[in-house]
Symmetry: C2
Subunit: 144 residues, 2 copies
């Protein structure tokens, strides 16, 4: 079951799954932030966090990248480990020009909907950059 969810997740990440998060997330999905202790409960708030992450973590944009940088500044998955109803997707990207290494830990229910989405980062300077960038992005996304 989780294999199909991960396939859909990748399609969503490539922009090829219309309303991807609406399709993928269960109504009672819980998001565990890399920064904040308190679990974020529910589909809407999980969507907001994942959309903020999507804006914050894509890595160096073309016009930021110096000539010397290769494509390694861009967000990319580096490991994929799955069993039962859980997948761990390790990734690398850059945030504020700093190397960031993280994991998405995704758990689905028997209907193939994501019920838990957990994110962690290393090293420390990446976490501090994610903290700043995600904070600013979530502030922008708040309803007026």
């Amino acid at each position: 079951m989780i294999e199909e969810v991960v396939k859909q997740w990748h399609a969503h990440m490539r922009g090829e799954l219309k309303n991807g998060l609406d399709i993928l997330l269960a109504d009672d999905c819980v998001f565990y932030s890399p920064i904040v202790f308190t679990p974020q409960v529910g589909k809407e708030i999980t969507k907001m966090y994942l959309m903020a992450a999507g804006q914050t973590l894509p890595g160096d944009k073309k016009d930021d990248a110096s000539e010397k940088k290769d494509s390694s500044g861009k967000f990319r998955y580096t490991k994929e480990v799955m069993s039962g109803n859980t997948a761990v997707l390790e990734f690398e990207t850059t945030v504020e020009g700093k190397y960031a290494n993280g994991v998405d830990i995704i758990t689905c229910n028997d209907e193939g909907k994501i019920v838990e989405f957990r994110v962690m980062f290393r090293p420390l300077q990446a976490i501090n950059a994610v903290h700043r960038q995600m904070g600013a992005m979530l502030e922008k996304m708040k309803p007026e």
Copy 2:
């Protein structure tokens, strides 16, 4: 292969595998710290980090724990995902009395020796606590 390594790892964590790290780690093992960007290359330095982690992360000791606390303050693995030569072990513990949630991402070679050990934490306050505690522990462990 990774299943056997994880079995040995748990035996090591329970103190039931004599010279556990010597047996488990490959000579060219690389440790990716939750704090520091630079990979730590080699069996000896990986051992040092894992021993420091073992001292720092066991969670609340009996005499720290208030009556109200249950056993949840102690280090425990909460998820185990394995495939191919990689295992992801998610854990919870407490550091400086704060909840800490992390992953050990362990990769082994065809001889069943660990060649890569990667650690990440959430949330931010746990990472800051790990930073302080691991730093102090590594300082203590340095050869004079």
